[in-house]
Amino acid sequence: MISKIINMAEKIQDAEDRLLESMFQTESILDDGFSARTVRRIRRQMWVRRLALPLAMIVGAAIAVKPASQLLSVGSQLFGPVATDSMFPQSALTAQLPIVIVGGMAIALVMVTFRLFEE
């Protein structure tokens, strides 16, 4: 009720208000491709944001492949007796590591591609 009274009070205008309102009134601006340009810019920003993280992951993984495999081989040498007790031999594990990393990267890439197709 109070808000209605306030709104009504706001709508009561004197001559000066009406004059100002008429002076402030301007013709509406034609779209002229503005909205299409803005939407394109938004879509571009979305693509950049979506691509940034997977790309960073892929680049990071590519850089980390070699040191990670070296670290694992050193680790397996240190914990040799444990590794030999396991089901898989130590040499096989070290050899498979790059394949596992590349496989992970491929899965990430497929997921990103699928997401982009959805868009």
Partner: protein, 197 residues
């Protein structure tokens, strides 16, 4: 599955009849740029008009309007739907304008430190077009805050409460700023004897 769902949602024909609130919900829930595009089409005129009047420069105002819609897209989930969407959008537009002013002020300071003299900091409202209207003269006597509030009130038709939300000011302050603005215009141009219509 989502691929086909997305195709159904991105149907511009259904967007044109939808309310602002529905389009916002669609844009937030499914990142539907087509729905947001419809919102831009609906409100671009008011936002661009607001920024043109506020800055007095058509081309930079249009760039600012694009930035404003980009910010609006990024902050769309903060629109609660309590007030009007145009009120919220003008709040984003005003913030974008103030941020750009602050940036150009910092830029001027850097130039100043580097030895270049550029009077961007103290730059007042200047009209870039050849034709200076009465409105431009009116707006030139107001400060930035008064100009923004007067435009929101008289050009965009926002209520005092909506202006208060848009500018983060209490309603009483909005009213007094409008009163002060009108006084400034009245004393500068002597419009008290002007008969409307």
């Amino acid at each position: 599955m989502a691929f086909f769902g997305q195709r159904l949602i991105n149907n511009p024909a259904t967007h044109s009849a939808a309310t602002d609130q529905y389009l916002v919900a669609l844009a937030v829930s499914s990142q539907d740029t087509a729905a947001f595009g419809e919102l831009i089409r609906r409100h671009q005129s008011q936002v661009r008009n607001f920024l043109r009047k506020l800055s007095g420069d058509t081309s930079s105002a249009d760039d600012l309007a694009q930035d404003c819609f980009l910010h609006a897209w990024n902050k769309l989930q903060t629109f609660t739907g309590r007030g009007s969407f145009i009120g919220w959008l003008l709040k984003v537009a005003y913030t974008t304008f103030l941020q750009s002013k602050r940036r150009s002020k910092r830029y001027a300071e850097i130039l100043d430190e580097a030895g270049y003299v550029e009077d961007v900091q103290n730059k007042s409202y200047t009209v870039q077009s050849d034709e200076v209207t009465d409105l431009d003269k009116f707006l030139a006597v107001l400060n930035e805050e008064e100009r923004a509030i007067m435009i929101m009130s008289y050009a965009c038709g926002l209520s005092h409460r909506e202006i208060g939300v848009a500018t983060d000011l209490p309603v009483g302050t909005v009213k007094s700023i409008i009163f002060r603005g009108k006084n400034k215009i009245r004393t500068s141009f002597d419009i008290k004897d002007h008969k409307h219509g």
